[in-house]
């Protein structure tokens, strides 16, 4: 059996996506070092089309679109990763407990997860943010709250499969406590599919944050891609670059995380399609 890295390297789309994500992370790290935020100044060069001095043009306040775009990476990645990690932890714990202990709690959790899948999550998120006020941490919390059932479902299924395998019975015969078996033996072996789902949640979270910002549900003083599309909406007739480039940024980032999630899933599951 080959190593994970070796098998992953054969997924060409996944590798390209991983490189793109690495580039975005690099922008987040390098941005503050070269004073990107300070470069984001208003100027008299208002609504200038893409040209030599401003490769992606300027907005209605004279800010450089490229600089804004690079600053927006931070918000998107932060919301995406934070929401995905929170949802994965929550979903893993709930799903594992639900699958391991079964019974009434299991039934209740799975019904709750089902309800979360029926409720239009964007509207719920938008109402929550509209009433409680925008703020990145609130947005992260709301997205995580809406996304955990996806992880819980996968985790529960894995736990149900693993807990009856022979090696778990063997550990049980050694006299370890059930909670120890769950955390030390079952969950670590079920974590792989959670990784695939979690990666896709990063993409969903970025998309959801952008949608909320497009609805005007983000703080005015933070540059984000969704907010750029929100302000670009007013200039669709005379400044196409204000809407075009942030959209490309969101699309390619979300696509990268979806491809990455697909590739991780395919790598971990050799029986899977493709």
């Amino acid at each position: 059996m080959r190593s994970f890295a070796g098998r992953f390297a054969r997924q060409r789309a996944g590798v390209a996506a991983a490189l793109f994500v690495a580039l975005l992370v690099g922008i987040c790290i390098v941005g503050p070092l070269i004073g990107l935020a300070e470069a984001d100044r208003m100027s008299n060069d208002v609504l200038i089309a893409p040209s030599g001095g401003h490769p992606l043009g300027t907005d209605d306040l004279g800010r450089d679109v490229l600089v804004d775009l690079l600053l927006g990476v931070q918000v998107s990645l932060f919301v995406g990763f934070a929401a995905a990690v929170a949802a994965s932890v929550l979903g893993t714990v709930i799903g594992a407990a639900s699958g391991h202990y079964g019974g009434l709690a299991d039934l209740a959790v799975m019904r709750l997860a089902e309800i979360f899948q029926v409720i239009p999550s964007f509207i719920l998120a938008a109402v929550l943010v509209a009433l409680s006020g925008p703020g990145l941490m609130r947005v992260v919390a709301v997205i995580a709250l809406l996304a955990w059932p996806q992880v819980a479902r996968v985790m529960r299924g894995e736990v149900l499969r693993i807990k009856n395998l022979e090696y778990v019975d063997a550990v049980r015969c050694l006299g370890f406590r059930e909670s120890y078996i769950l955390f030390a033996e079952v969950i670590p072996n079920a974590i792989a599919p959670v990784l695939a789902v979690g990666t896709m949640i990063v993409g969903q979270a970025i998309l959801l944050e952008a949608s909320l910002a497009f609805f005007g549900l983000s703080s005015v003083d933070i540059v984000s891609w969704g907010r750029m599309l929100n302000s670009g909406q007013r200039f669709l007739f005379n400044a196409w670059w204000l809407s075009f480039f942030p959209g490309v940024a969101i699309f390619s980032t979300v696509l990268a995380f979806n491809l990455l999630g697909d590739a991780i899933g395919a790598t971990l599951d050799p029986k899977g399609s493709r």
Partner: protein, 327 residues
């Protein structure tokens, strides 16, 4: 059939109850006066505020408040929008109708397009159409739908000038008669088309899997063996069986497509739920936001229920309990 019907109803009721509880909790969790969440920030007469305080029992205990809230919702009392001078339920239902007006043709087109693509792809596995469906579904799951709408505006309305960029009806058209219908249809093309593109991505992938599954059934082999042409087999035996999962997927994904429609219509200033939502955010008209949440959640549950029944009707194995529902 009756047992199946009751089972599905028993599935829907707790969901409706949970939605009402969530909506109630939102008012309580949010920092600030719950009265503000129930009345909104628009200046309201003191008499009305006192009435709301009494009606929702804001001085009473939390369980009692929940009970009163559920009672109000059950009676269709979702409050009054002072920004719009209209009861919330009436307002939200009127706008929901316009959103559905956009969604129904868009989803129908997406379903037909998706099935046609799936059948075409199934003729030759691994063909260009096959790859196209995979690419399209990746596109649909990754693209911000409102940006897709903005691209449509920039291309077809601004650049080419073929179609109107915003609104539902031309101001120069008389508000009734065939001219009005024509104008509405004309304004519908771009937003509906945006939803269709977005949604074909979902449908085509399911339809492809479904067509391939049916093609591997024994009765297809039988049909071919008795001498039917490939075309006849596809139309008479593959399509009717492959359509069932497609219909159910559209139904069960109603929440997803509703969200898409709400986001798209704000780009086109289509006066549906999305625009009402944005206007209510600006006006801090909180009861309307809650009304939109409740009404859209109920719509989703209803569509899910209808899909269940349709599924049971189309596929006797389901209603007799031979197969489990897989969403």
């Amino acid at each position: 059939m009756w047992r199946y019907l009751f089972a599905r109803l028993a599935w829907a009721l707790p969901i409706v109850a949970t939605i009402v509880v969530i909506s109630f909790l939102i008012i309580r969790i949010v920092p600030g006066d719950p009265l503000q969440a129930l009345v909104g920030d628009f200046p309201a007469p003191p008499d009305y505020i006192a009435q709301v305080r009494h009606q929702f029992g804001l001085d009473a205990s939390i369980p009692r408040q929940l009970w009163l809230y559920a009672g109000n919702v059950a009676h269709g009392n979702l409050g009054f929008s002072f920004a719009n001078r209209q009861p919330v339920l009436e307002l939200v239902l009127a706008r929901a109708r316009l959103t559905l007006l956009l969604m129904v043709p868009a989803l129908t087109a997406a379903a037909m397009l998706g099935i046609v693509m799936a059948v075409a792809a199934a003729q030759r596995a691994g063909s260009a159409i096959d790859a196209g469906i995979t690419a399209l579904s990746l596109f649909g799951y990754s693209v911000p739908i409102f940006w897709l709408g903005q691209l449509m505006v920039m291309l077809f309305a601004v650049r080419l000038g073929w179609l109107p960029a915003a609104g539902m009806i031309s101001l120069r058209t008389s508000p009734s008669g065939w001219a009005a219908v024509g104008s509405v249809l004309w304004h519908m093309v771009l937003p509906a088309f945006s939803i269709t593109i977005y949604y074909v991505a979902v449908v085509a992938r399911i339809a492809r899997a479904s067509v391939l599954a049916v093609l591997s059934e024994d009765f297809i082999l039988t049909a071919l063996a008795k001498g039917l042409s490939h075309r006849e087999v596809v139309w008479r035996h593959v399509l009717p069986n492959a359509i069932i999962p497609v219909v159910t997927v559209i139904g069960y994904n109603f929440a997803y497509s509703l969200t898409g429609a709400i986001l798209v219509e704000t780009v086109f200033a289509w006066p549906g739920l999305g625009n009402l939502f944005i206007a209510s955010i600006t006006n801090r008209d909180y009861p309307v936001l809650q009304g939109i949440l409740l009404v859209s959640a109920f719509m989703v549950v209803l569509v899910n229920l209808a899909t269940d029944l349709l599924y049971g009707f189309l596929d006797p194995r389901i209603r007799r309990g031979y197969a489990v529902r897989h969403a």
